[in-house]
């Protein structure tokens, strides 16, 4: 059986950063397995700019951001094997892989980083009624058709969901000559970044219908019409509010799901709130020596944050290889009022210098506080002028604040007073 000290599943931004940081931490035998024909992952089709302000301190496009990491890895002995599918992963860290070049191959890994990213929710996942005609795409699929393969998917477009990919595609399709008639969002707020509302919708006078959804899809072979209705506070369509759009294309930007088939096969414990692995503060999953980072762990809105998280995962994987697994008492983290989940889900009490906690809020808040409680006692509080579910939040708790906690779960909650 082939052996490798560290195997990284996925050659997108998470996998590339994890490899680089593990290399810099002294691991010399690193193998990245990538299913596509090139490394870079989803960044290759994200040709718009706005990446890298945190990490590179300049504004890059997706391909440029990926290119920088691919270039940095060229100066190392990290191997990137493309066109390679991982078929199965076992709890004792054996990967069953298949590729045109190597055929079937089993690889035993000293440590593994899961960096498989996420997938788009599809029409089936949100049960849109109506005809099964062609012309309904996920926004990311349309983005790949346009930016990688060079095909426009339609001329008159309605977008359901205001996630960032949908907004970016509204602008992209408009610039390429399509007419984007509307962006329709079920929730009373956008799921995307504010800047994308401004530069992708407002710049082109594309209306955003909040608290609306698609209630009918009509078309014989190709999509011809969609019906959009207003929804009440329980997200149920209100009869009599229907608007009909003549269009040939419906793009869906209705959420992303971490892709954890392999994690589940291996028996990695999954958190139902994030749909990603339950991890410790060093990104280690419930299986020792198996780490997770990037969108497979929880869906991020900035690639810079994926990079930062993956650097920590790569470093932790290196430490596991060199010094063995972490031990020490665990403390659970809970999401309290207004908080949807936390990553990590638990941490070791003797955390070295600080504990960073990532989460999303459940609704929009202005001038509110993020508080951390140990039972009834508040141990930390952070002020925020503006918080929204579309923007990932994070807080950093210095290790000295954690010295005297009881060991029961810590709760992260939002307080408005």
């Amino acid at each position: 059986m082939t052996k490798a000290e560290l195997v990284i599943i996925g050659g997108g931004p998470a996998g590339l950063a994890a490899a680089l940081s593990a290399w810099e931490s002294g691991v010399k035998d690193i193998l990245i397995l990538e299913r596509d024909r090139q490394a870079g992952g989803i960044l290759n089709q994200c040709i718009h700019n706005g990446f890298g302000l945190h990490y590179f301190k300049e504004e890059l496009t997706g391909p440029e951001y990926a290119g920088r990491f691919i270039e940095m890895l060229r100066g190392t002995d990290v191997r990137v094997r493309t066109d390679t599918m991982v078929l199965d992963l076992t709890a004792d860290r054996i990967l069953h892989t298949v590729s045109p070049e190597h055929g079937y191959e089993a690889i035993r890994a000293g440590a593994i980083v899961l960096a498989m990213g996420c997938r788009e929710r599809t029409r089936g996942a949100i049960s849109i009624p109506g005809a099964r005609c062609s012309g309904v795409f996920t926004a990311g699929a349309a983005q790949r058709f346009l930016n990688i393969e060079g095909y426009m998917v339609g001329k008159r477009v309605v977008i359901l969901g205001s996630g960032d990919i949908g907004l970016i595609m509204a602008r992209r399709m408009t610039l390429e000559g399509a007419k984007v008639l509307a962006c329709v969002e079920l929730m009373p707020y956008s799921g995307g970044l504010n800047r994308n509302i401004v530069q992708c919708l407002n710049d082109f006078d594309i209306p955003l219908y909040l608290s609306h959804t698609v209630t009918d899809v009509r078309g014989k072979d190709r999509l011809e019409q969609v019906t959009v209705s207003k929804v009440d506070e329980n997200r149920r369509p209100i009869p009599g509010t229907e608007m009909v759009f003549d269009c040939d294309t419906l793009l869906l930007s209705v959420g992303l799901l971490p892709e954890n088939e392999l994690s589940r096969q291996a028996g990695v414990e999954i958190d139902p709130r994030t749909n990603g692995p339950r991890v410790w503060e060093n990104c280690e999953t419930s299986i020792p020596g198996v780490f997770a980072c990037g969108n497979v762990l929880h869906v991020h809105d900035l690639v810079d944050y994926v990079t930062a998280e993956s650097m920590r995962a790569g470093e932790a994987a290196a430490k596991f290889i060199q010094a063995g697994g972490e031990t020490g008492d665990g403390v659970e983290l809970q999401n309290g009022d207004g908080v949807g989940y936390t990553v990590p889900q638990h941490f070791r009490r003797d955390v070295s210098d600080k504990l960073q906690i990532f989460f999303r809020v459940r609704r929009i808040y202005r001038d509110a506080f993020i508080s951390v409680y140990d039972g009834e006692r508040r141990i930390a509080r952070f002020k925020r002028e503006h918080m929204a579910p579309g923007e990932m939040e994070n807080i950093t708790i210095p290790a000295m604040f954690l010295k005297h906690i009881t060991g029961g779960p810590l709760t992260v909650r939002i307080e408005e007073d």
Binding site: N44, N49, E59, G62, E64, L146, R195, V198, Q199
Partner: protein
């Protein structure tokens, strides 16, 4: 006072810009102040797109304007980009159109393709 959302970075600061003095508040970095003032005087955007690529492995080459160009010229820039065909090899940063549509900006490749 004009209220804007800064698009310089994903943080999306809520800016207030004085329409006469172009003084900006609500920004958390100097780039926000520049954006806020420019947005009222002469709004500019970076345009990104793709061009036809003659290559063994890829059909499209991603490109961008190397500086923000006037918002009103976006479609003119797109029309220029649509005329370009590139043969591999190409390197990231290669200039494909100089001074596109008279904007002083260049259209450059945003990835390298060897063959």
């Amino acid at each position: 006072m004009k209220e804007l959302i800064c698009i310089t970075c994903p943080k999306g600061c809520h800016l207030k810009v004085d329409e006469e003095t172009f003084a900006v508040t609500g920004n958390s970095c100097p780039r926000g102040a520049v954006y806020g003032a420019n947005e009222l005087r002469n709004p500019v955007r970076v345009v990104t797109s793709t061009v036809v690529l003659e290559s063994e492995s890829f059909r499209r080459l991603p490109v961008k304007t190397d500086r923000a160009i006037p918002k009103a010229k976006m479609f003119e820039v797109m029309a220029e980009i649509a005329k370009v065909r590139v043969h591999a090899p190409v390197r990231v940063g290669d200039v494909l159109i100089a001074n596109v549509a008279g904007t002083d900006g260049n259209v450059v490749a945003t990835r390298s393709v060897k063959e």
